[in-house]
Symmetry: C2
Subunit: 107 residues, 2 copies
Amino acid sequence: MTHPANEIDDVVHQRVRLGILTVAHEARRVEFGFLRTTLDLTVGNLSQHLTVLEKAGLIEIEKGYEGRRGRTWIHLTAAGKKALRDEIARLKELIRQVEASQEKDPT
Amino acid sequence: MTHPANEIDDVVHQRVRLGILTVAHEARRVEFGFLRTTLDLTVGNLSQHLTVLEKAGLIEIEKGYEGRRGRTWIHLTAAGKKALRDEIARLKELIRQVEASQEKDPT
């Protein structure tokens, strides 16, 4: 049986991208500025990670207006929702293994 | 309140290093070749990640012999055990948030 760490996908697991997917999961769509503030990122850093997620087909990016202001909205695709669910299943398996060995040696 | 992704430490969270810490947590010490096979890594890749973990004070590396064969053993330090516990606490919080929003919109 393979170790759960071997099944983890870096595209989803990377800290900032996991944050983006988690925040985007909480609403139908999420605004760029809100994501940036919530995850404490620079515009450049957030843009870079959004590009990775968009290329992998996990999010879609829409540009539009709110009043006169240009806005960018992000939402998860079906593949993005599935990728996040898969990541969480693997993390839970990994946590289960650590906690099982914690019980044997609770130091 | 800050998002749990902002509290995650990349040194511990990175996929391969999280795998190393998890496997090392399961025994008092773990042998290099066993780690390499379990996590399906090249010698170079495993060495690189071990160096990052050792520099951060999360593991200690001992070199010794088993019969005539040179062996390298890895064990977690107290700081390494704590770092893994902290990572798991943050992952659980993140999973809790995703699952809470899953219930609202189970698509």
